[in-house]
């Protein structure tokens, strides 16, 4: 009888620990997604060459050993409307993701047992959609025919953030609240 009770308590404790680790992992995944989105949006390094580091907001040009912060060129090879679309959707992705983490924490405390975190999942999915739009437009429109140069870290982080937010949103759609 006592052994049964002892065993039950042990499994209960193990269960709680597993739940906490899972919660921490999901939380960490979301936070990492937010950080990657913020870095990809704010830093100016989607396309780089030896002397320039350019992006959706401005361009850094290396002149005489100093980096100068200059404006992006305007013209047919740098369409303004697509640029603004990339800017807007990447900012929207950041906003949705940050709102999503707050909604997730709120849902942790207000959801009934057995219900799913659908609203948090929706926010993360919207963030995923927005950053996918931003990265796709940038890939397809800008720097198509430039041979000297490579995609900078912001571009790569944008696509990684897309993957992370996608996984995160799937997790929220599948997960059920186990403890009250």
């Amino acid at each position: 009888m006592m052994e049964e009770l002892h065993l039950k308590r042990q499994t209960a404790v193990k269960h709680t620990v597993i739940m906490l680790i899972l919660l921490g992992a999901i939380f960490a995944l979301h936070i990492i997604g937010i950080i990657l989105l913020l870095v990809a949006t704010i830093d100016n390094a989607w396309w780089m060459t030896d002397t320039i580091s350019t992006d959706v907001w401005a361009r850094w040009i290396l002149q005489n050993g100093k980096w100068n912060y200059t404006d992006l060129p305007e013209g047919s090879h740098y369409p303004q409307d697509y640029l603004q679309a990339v800017q807007a959707s990447s900012v929207l992705a950041c906003i949705f993701s940050i709102l999503g983490i707050f909604v997730f924490v709120a849902q942790l405390f207000t959801l009934n047992k057995g219900q799913r975190f659908t609203i948090s999942g929706i926010f993360q999915f919207l963030a995923c959609l927005c950053i996918m739009i931003a990265a796709s437009i940038y890939t397809d429109i800008f720097h198509r025919n430039e041979a000297n140069g490579w995609y900078g870290h912001c571009f790569i982080l944008a696509w990684i953030a897309f993957a992370l937010t996608f996984i995160s949103s799937i997790t929220y759609f599948v997960l059920r609240k186990k403890t009250a």
């Binding site: 907001w57 404006d71 709102l99």
Partner: protein, 219 residues
């Protein structure tokens, strides 16, 4: 004594405008512009006399840090003469209307070397005594968006939306307390039941509408 003073002041006031009719020239004080844009420098004057046909306007330019002025524009005898050798050749245009006392010029495609002081001198014969007026031109380069602005915008929108969501949530709860939304009421009833098993008070009168509503939320 007083009458003498009054008479003297009337005579003086009567005489003074006649002798020192000065022309007063107006330009701006300072003008700001972006590199590559156009700027209109306005010049106008006030004179007691009618605008004569021999009215003249002339603009001179003194670069920042230099002591010499160079003449860049002259209007006389009904014809305008713009700079064709100096720093503003092919960039200067006369856009004024001398009959309306306007001697403004337009400088196109500004460069950084255009920083300086522009002086306008207008003469309206016989009203020629006057002080030329100067306007200072400052040429700026366009500043692209800074990272701080983007970060601030994101944080601002997020905080604003959070405040909005919290306000809406408490508004909903306030309305719930007045039994306007039955959906939220049934959810709250269920929560209270889960929390404390003893208090059966608010739940027992199980309305069919409430049961149906709770079934809808679960599904």
């Amino acid at each position: 004594m007083l009458t003498f003073l009054a008479l003297a002041s009337v005579v003086l006031l009567g005489i003074v405008p006649e002798q020192s009719q000065a022309i007063v020239i107006y330009t701006g004080w300072e003008r700001h512009a972006l590199v590559g844009s156009d700027i209109r420098l306005s010049c106008s004057f006030f004179s007691w006399r009618w605008t004569s046909e021999d009215v003249t306007f002339s603009w001179t330019y003194r670069p920042d840090g230099s002591r010499d002025s160079i003449s860049i524009f002259h209007y006389t005898g009904g014809a305008a003469y713009v700079d064709n050798k100096g720093p503003f050749r092919d960039r200067l245009e006369f856009v004024g209307n001398p009959s309306r006392r306007d001697g403004s010029i337009l400088i196109k495609n500004l460069e950084f070397s255009d920083n300086g002081t522009f002086t306008c001198d207008a003469k309206n014969p016989p009203d020629i005594v006057g002080r030329p007026s100067s306007v200072r031109l400052l040429v700026f380069e366009k500043v692209p968006i800074q990272a701080g602005v983007i970060t601030g915008a994101i944080i601002g929108v997020v905080l604003g939306l959070l405040v909005l969501i919290v306000v809406i949530y408490y508004l909903m709860r306030f309305l719930v307390a007045r039994r306007v939304f039955s959906l939220s009421v049934s959810k709250h009833g269920k929560k209270k039941k889960e929390g404390s098993q003893q208090r059966q008070g608010p739940v027992p009168p199980a309305d069919p509408s409430k049961v149906a509503a709770s079934a809808v939320t679960r599904g």
